[in-house]
């Protein structure tokens, strides 16, 4: 009896580890040869990624079937301990439960689809291998994030998602705007990631471990929080802060429309589907903390609704397809966070998955807009109507015009974040670079070096 149980546990654990290991193997298999300048052929590349994601997807489906049959018991897979000091431990653990198993099915399934799409879409593109390495990194990071059994593992996945997102926004790095947009997303991520890091520290401090098994008690979605109330509030607030960046919430939303610089399939999976909902997933996972800290929950509702309204208004004046879809994603991401803040758990999960599928289809299809529009006009017997939303029409005319202007300039937060947050960081980095240049010139004892550096920059 006990051995049967143990073997069943081993089987489940094996399945879960496969979901992480398969994309990781792909990543190494593609990345290491590329590092020494031996990029595999296009076909081999897509096949490797398809195999990695496919294997993970099948394992996830089996886990889902098994889990669904047994009512999603919490399976914890202990992979090792990073360090242990006294009663402080940092472990590497994965967890499979009613949240992570459906989510990982959906995310690996979507990754597989986008891989199939991108294999044809990026044919003959000079950055072909780079794209798929980043896609593999993203898939690995996403699965790590979803299956994480501790806040430390989650953070690792979170960072993989962030770095692959940044590098794909800047995929066309010969273009200035693409790099600027990537930098903006990167800075926003970095700032908000501090929230996750700090929340991890606070949680470690409170319970002596980052394992969700010791932070929360019970199975998702009915788990309760073991963190004392006094610590729960700051921890929850920090987690909310962390989620704002990835999920492009006010006031950190400006990077999202700018992120539509990469190839279409990466825009679809990151900003229509998975990356944008990583914040929602984090908060769903740490839901009990929010329950224990109602203030954070209400703040989340306020920010989510604020973002949704902001994005709906700004989105309605966008004239480019991808920008419009970016704001549409932001609207729903705001609503989803508000739902989480209200203490709901299953509704936002369904909302996330459903929204992600619909939106990624819309973004993948966005280059067909002219074709679709032509068909639609033909069917309707005229072009589809335009006009401000009924809510806007309730405003007096003067206010409408002002609101239009504000919407066209993407609201205030965009300008303010750029001015008070991004610009100082960039300026300090530039100052550091300038300092280094002077130092090198001083040490090298030559003014020429400095001048040449300036000239090179000019040439570039």
């Amino acid at each position: 009896m006990i051995s049967a149980l143990a073997s069943r546990h081993d089987l489940a654990a094996g399945l879960i580890v496969t979901q992480i290991a398969a994309p990781a193997a792909t990543l190494l298999g593609l990345g290491l040869p590329a590092l020494v300048g031996r990029a595999p052929s296009e076909q081999a590349t897509t096949r490797a990624v398809a195999a990695g994601f496919g294997l993970a997807f099948v394992a996830a489906l089996v886990s889902l079937a098994v889990g669904a049959a047994r009512g999603f018991p919490v399976e914890v897979v202990h992979l090792g301990t990073l360090f242990s000091v006294g009663h402080h431990t940092a472990t590497i653990e994965l967890v499979a439960d009613g949240l992570s198993i459906p989510y990982v099915c959906f995310s690996t399934g979507l990754c597989s689809l986008v891989n199939a799409f991108a294999g044809r879409y990026l044919h003959r593109e000079p950055g072909f291998t780079r794209f798929f390495i980043l896609l593999a990194l993203f898939g690995f990071g996403m699965n790590l994030l979803v299956l994480a059994g501790s806040i430390d593992v989650l953070f690792a996945g979170w960072e993989c998602v962030g770095i692959s997102s940044t590098l794909l926004i800047g995929f066309f790095h010969e273009r200035r705007t693409a790099v600027a947009a990537a930098l903006r997303a990167f800075i926003t991520y970095r700032i908000c990631d501090m929230g996750l890091l700090a929340a991890g520290v606070v949680i470690h401090h409170a319970v002596g471990s980052g394992d969700f098994g010791r932070v929360f008690a019970g199975a998702w979605p009915a788990a309760t929080c073991l963190v004392p109330a006094a610590t729960a509030v700051p921890a929850a607030l920090l987690l909310v802060f962390a989620a704002l960046g990835k999920s492009a919430q006010v006031p950190f939303s400006g990077w999202l429309p700018r992120a539509m610089e990469g190839p279409t399939p990466s825009s679809a999976i990151f900003y229509g589907a998975l990356s944008i909902h990583a914040g929602a997933y984090l908060l769903l996972r740490c839901g009990p903390l929010l329950d224990a800290a109602p203030a954070a929950g209400w703040l989340l509702v306020a920010i989510g609704l604020g973002t949704a309204i902001h994005a709906a208004v700004v989105g309605s004046v966008q004239t480019d397809l991808k920008g419009m879809l970016a704001y549409a994603s932001m609207t729903q991401a705001g609503l989803i966070l508000a739902e989480i803040g209200l203490g709901w758990r299953v509704v936002p999960l369904v909302h996330v998955i459903s929204h992600a599928i619909l939106r990624s289809l819309q973004i993948l299809r966005s280059p067909s807009a002219l074709h679709d529009r032509h068909e639609l006009s033909a069917a309707l017997g005229g072009p589809p109507g335009q006009g401000e939303s009924p809510l806007v029409r309730l405003l007096p005319a003067g206010l409408q015009a002002t609101l239009y202007r504000i919407a066209l300039d993407r609201g205030f937060e965009d300008a303010w974040v750029g001015r008070f947050l991004v610009a100082p960081v960039v300026a300090s980095l530039e100052a550091a670079a300038e300092f280094e240049r002077r130092l090198v010139a001083r040490l090298g004892g030559s003014q020429d070096v400095a001048n040449e550096w300036h000239r090179d920059r000019g040439a570039a």
Partner: protein, 1015 residues
């Protein structure tokens, strides 16, 4: 002109600006909204000067490439695409008597120096790089690996110095290096002072690349202009658009809103402009405000009078896509896809300059500090521009080490040993060095390009000259069928395969609107679109109506379509809103998963299924075209409904005369229009028929067939001497160049007597289209080489339906030739889908009137397509639209790269990557005298020919050897035949099997055993 004379500090006169703006507009891309994309010469504004001069001027003005990179041409040289004979011929032409100029004390001639500079090339490196090479590499201790063996032997032998040392390469190379260092020690690096740019932004960026005012102004400018021009993406539309761009933008920008630091003064300025626009609107002179604002801003920017033209032009070129689109809306408001807007280029420039001044002033503060703020702005800016002009960096010529390095390389290539170099006088050394610098990059690339084109032209003209004499027309019996195709290069393969499949079929080429210029509204369309060349504005409208007994069925289908359309619209719009969006997105995902998975995993099946479902009702409705005009009243848009019988007769006569089909009609005459259907392709319209203005030529073919079958039309024609036999029937059809599908119109009206002939034709078409698909597939890297015709057909069908496919077809990517003449002469020639084929019979055109009207259409259209592809290939970033992958449809009028870029005009990289950039070779079956007679009334075409935008060859009706027009000598010269051997194969498929790249012409000899190329 008076401006030049006037005081440079006098205030700018608004009226003097009109000419400047109009002149600058000619430099902008002529591309209209992307839904009716027509390939045009990106440098249409430069057609008044020779091609070679134009591309170099444009390259300097727009920071573009004039030709491909040198390395690409050298690679072509290595694989034999350019031959040494081409280089020699081009150099001989270019240098003339200077070729024999002695250099290096008579050891070499100028032509030898230029030849090695072209074929081998020198590494041009900065002093620092050369120093690095000297310490880290062995470039000065080894001879170049690409030397001729004779040259190498000579150098090595010379390295055996008088001291009897070892004969080594190392010795020869380093000895030569020292000789070169000594030889160049005396000189000094040349300093070239360039004229500083007049536009403040260019000046600032040249001195401080990290401060770019355009980086500040472009994002808001792009948002405002695209919101103004939007044709239906945004739900909430900009107000006051009907009052013009300046007024609408000023109204928006004068409202309270977030402001960046640089933009602080903008709101006040736009408030004032908005007020002026309102008063001007009362006085009904909206035009003046824009020019006043431009004049004020130019003065406030402290632009001197002589610089105004340059500032206006370069300010517009800085966002040339958007500026060009505004200009297109101004010029052709009728081409706006949905909403006609009174956009004007002057308004755009006014807005742009208001933004530019704010950004320039802000940047100036950062450049000089806020110390000078007490001065008036124009004075402060003028002082700043003066300072920046002083600091404008000069270009330095190569320094001492790098000159030695260049000389070292050149000496090796010329076979000059250390002894030779040491024996040269200073004067000779300087002359040798000057021959390197005078032969600059643009010149080298121009000559390499000419050699590249020369090889291509020679191959084609040799093939034409080597064709066997045409069979006597009298000996051919009556054909079973005659098929009229569009002249499009993509139709060449289908035509050829059809002729190969059934030798009883004769084909013709005509402009694909078949002389029927019309506005057309199909059964499913909501408005009429013009189906004729873009320069023609049709005066007639033709409507497709359901037959009376199908009317109720049609109405029911219409209702259900409308309902489905409304649901789709609601769902898509709803998914983006707040409240409905929440609902739609939380339940819609389950439904969206089905198309998401099926479209990605099995695109072909999905689209077949979708077409089956959507087309089910459509196919059961029989329709007819309302061709005959029954009323004199014009439609609301000013066009007339249908044509009179006399007009139809004129159309039929015109086309039949054009293609030389006035006698010996076959029982079946088929007209095949073409179009292209693909998904996920904003440039879909670029693949449609250019002669139909980026529309599909099927309805024109159908209309023509109906006209030609009309007994009333026939009797009118017969009375006028054009007798169409009673047993000849015309049928219209349409070819999809993407999925290789062919569909037919009105076949139910075919007489019973012609059914067998029609069926046999359809069978031939079915066989030919699979072969056509196979021939197309050989170009696609992702399709295996040995694919069978049937598999190829499936492959192209899948491409047309695939959301992820960025190369549904290659469009005109292979185009290079246009042959105007009798198909009989080229019938068995394999032209590799590279030729526009226009049927023309010189014998039936005694006064050259037909040739004249043919060239009026063919010249600009074909050269436009060819130049659009060629220039997009040469510089995909400036003339082309760049890679498709980040394209983002904006306002339904164009695409941007990512979220806020200039509108990308031209063709995408994926469409031109396999294109060979050569100017169109226009071969006309006529004599030079007759050609000039035909061209005289066409100044535009004559300009294209004289300035070398196309290469024209006359192919005399009697006699095989073409004569080629030489722009330099301004006359026709007989083509010098290099090879009179033409490879022969039994079938096209034998010639192209397993090959990806371009193929030379071959003669198709049915029944001929496959044979290797004899040479």
């Amino acid at each position: 002109m008076s401006d030049e004379m006037a005081d440079p500090n006098a205030p700018c006169d608004p009226n003097s600006l009109r000419g400047l703006v109009a002149a600058a507009a000619r430099l902008l891309p002529a591309q209209g909204p992307i839904s009716s994309f027509v390939a045009l010469n990106p440098l249409h504004g430069f057609e008044d000067r020779p091609f070679e001069q134009a591309v170099e001027e444009a390259a300097r003005l727009m920071h573009a490439q004039p030709y491909l990179e040198e390395s690409v041409y050298r690679e072509a040289l290595a694989r034999g695409r350019i031959q040494p004979a081409d280089i020699d011929a081009i150099l001989a032409d270019d240098l003339g008597p200077r070729a024999a100029e002695p250099l290096a004390g008579g050891r070499v001639r100028l032509v030898d120096v230029q030849r090695v500079l072209l074929t081998k090339g020198l590494k041009h490196e900065s002093d620092t790089a050369v120093r690095w090479t000297l310490t880290e590499g062995d470039a000065t201790e080894r001879l170049r690996p690409d030397l001729d063996p004779a040259c190498r032997a000579r150098l090595v032998a010379a390295g055996n110095g008088p001291d009897g040392g070892q004969i080594t390469e190392h010795r020869a190379a380093s000895d030569l290096w020292h000789a070169c260092v000594e030889a160049t020690a005396g000189g000094r690096a040349a300093v070239v002072h360039r004229l500083p740019p007049a536009r403040p932004r260019e000046l600032i960026v040249a001195v401080r690349p990290d401060l770019d005012p355009d980086a500040l102004t472009h994002p808001p400018l792009i948002r405002l202009v695209s919101a103004y021009l939007d044709q239906g993406v945004a739900d909430w539309v900009m107000a006051n658009r009907e009052r013009g761009l300046l007024a609408a933008v000023a109204e928006v920008a004068s409202k309270f809103g977030p402001e960046d630091r640089w933009a602080r003064g903008l709101r006040a300025r736009f408030t004032e402009i908005a007020a002026r626009c309102r008063t001007a609107a009362d006085r009904r002179d909206p035009g003046d405000v824009a020019f006043q604002v431009i004049a004020e801003e130019l003065d406030a920017l402290a632009i001197a009078a002589r610089d105004r033209a340059e500032v206006v032009a370069s300010s517009l070129l800085a966002l040339r896509g958007w500026a060009g689109m505004v200009w297109q809306f101004e010029q052709r408001p009728d081409l706006a896809p949905c909403v006609r807007l009174p956009a004007r280029l002057a308004d755009f420039l006014a807005v742009r300059l208001v933004f530019d001044r704010a950004a320039a002033a802000f940047t100036a503060d950062r450049l000089v500090g806020a110390a000078a703020e007490d001065e008036a702005e124009p004075v402060r800016l003028a002082a700043l521009w003066a300072e920046l002009r002083d600091r404008f960096p000069a270009t330095r010529g190569p320094g001492t080490v790098s000159r030695a390095f260049l000389l070292h390389q050149l000496a090796q290539l010329l076979g000059l040993s250390a002894v030779d170099v040491r024996s040269l006088t200073t004067h000779e050394i300087v002359a040798l060095e000057r021959s390197i610098y005078a032969f600059d990059s643009f010149t080298r690339r121009r000559l390499l390009h000419l050699a590249y084109e020369r090889r291509f032209n020679t191959t084609i003209l040799d093939a034409l000259a080597a064709l066997p004499p045409e069979p006597r027309p009298a000996s051919t019996p009556r054909r079973q069928a005659q098929v009229v195709f569009c002249i499009d290069d993509r139709c060449e393969s289908l035509r050829r395969h059809l002729e190969e499949t059934d030798s009883q079929i004769e084909t013709f080429g005509a402009a694909g609107f078949f002389a029927v210029p019309m506005n057309y509204r199909g059964l499913d369309d909501w408005h009429a679109t013009p189906l004729c060349p873009i320069v023609v504005r049709p005066g007639h409208t033709v409507i497709e109506e359901p037959e009376a007994d199908h009317l109720s069925h049609h109405r029911a289908r219409q209702r259900s379509r409308r309902l489905r359309g409304r649901i789709r619209e609601r769902l898509f719009a709803g998914s983006r809103t707040l409240f409905i969006g929440g609902l739609v997105t939380s339940v819609g995902g389950a439904i969206a998963a089905v198309p998401l998975v099926s479209r990605v995993v099995c695109p072909r099946l999905t689209s077949l299924l979708a077409a089956r479902v959507c087309g089910w009702g459509r196919r059961r409705i029989r329709t007819r075209l309302e061709l005959l005009r029954t009323t004199a009243a014009a439609l609301p848009d000013g066009t007339l409904p249908g044509f009179t019988t006399a007009e139809m007769a004129a159309i039929v006569r015109r086309l039949l005369e054009d293609i030389g089909l006035t006698t010996s009609f076959a029982p079946l005459v088929v007209l095949l229009g073409h179009g292209s259907t693909s998904l996920n392709n904003p440039h879909e319209s670029a693949y449609d028929c250019g002669a139909c203005g980026g529309g599909r030529g099927g309805p024109n073919a159908r209309a023509f067939a109906l006209m030609a079958n009309d007994p009333a039309v026939r009797s009118l024609l017969a009375a006028d001497g054009l007798a169409i036999p009673g047993d000849t029937v015309f049928v219209g059809g349409m070819q999809d160049t993407c999925s290789s599908g062919i569909s037919w119109f009105d076949t139910d009206r075919l007489p019973v007597t012609h059914r067998d002939e029609f069926e046999s034709l359809v069978r031939a078409c079915v066989a030919a289209r699979a072969l056509d698909a196979q021939e197309r597939c050989r170009r696609f890297d992702s399709v295996p080489r040995g694919i069978t015709p049937a598999d190829a057909l499936r492959a192209v069908e899948a491409r047309a339906a695939d959301l992820a496919q960025v190369r549904p077809e290659y469009g005109h990517a292979t185009t290079a030739v246009c042959i105007v003449g009798r198909r009989r002469r080229t019938r068995n020639l394999f032209l590799d889908r590279r030729a526009f084929l226009m049927s023309y019979d010189p014998d039936a055109d005694p006064d050259d009137a037909i040739l004249s009207r043919t060239l009026a259409a063919v010249g600009p259209v074909c050269s436009g397509i060819s130049l659009a592809y060629t220039l997009s290939r040469i510089d995909p970033l400036v003339y082309g639209a760049g890679t498709k992958l980040p394209h983002n449809i904006t306002g339904l009028i164009g695409v941007m790269d990512g979220h806020a870029s200039d509108l990308r005009t031209g063709l995408p990289l994926q469409g031109v990557e396999i294109h060979e950039p050569v100017r169109l070779l226009l071969v006309v079956e006529t004599t030079p005298d007759r050609l000039w007679r035909a061209v005289t009334p066409l100044p535009g075409v004559e300009r294209l020919i004289r300035n070398g935008w196309v290469t024209v060859a006359c192919w005399p009706p009697q006699g095989p050897v073409p004569e080629v027009y030489d722009c330099r000598l301004a006359r026709f010269m007989p083509h010098a035949i290099e090879s009179s051997l033409l490879p022969q194969v039994a079938r096209s498929a034998d010639w192209y099997a397993g090959v990806r790249g371009n193929l030379p012409p071959a003669l198709i000899r049915p029944g001929h055993a496959p044979q290797e190329e004899a040479s």
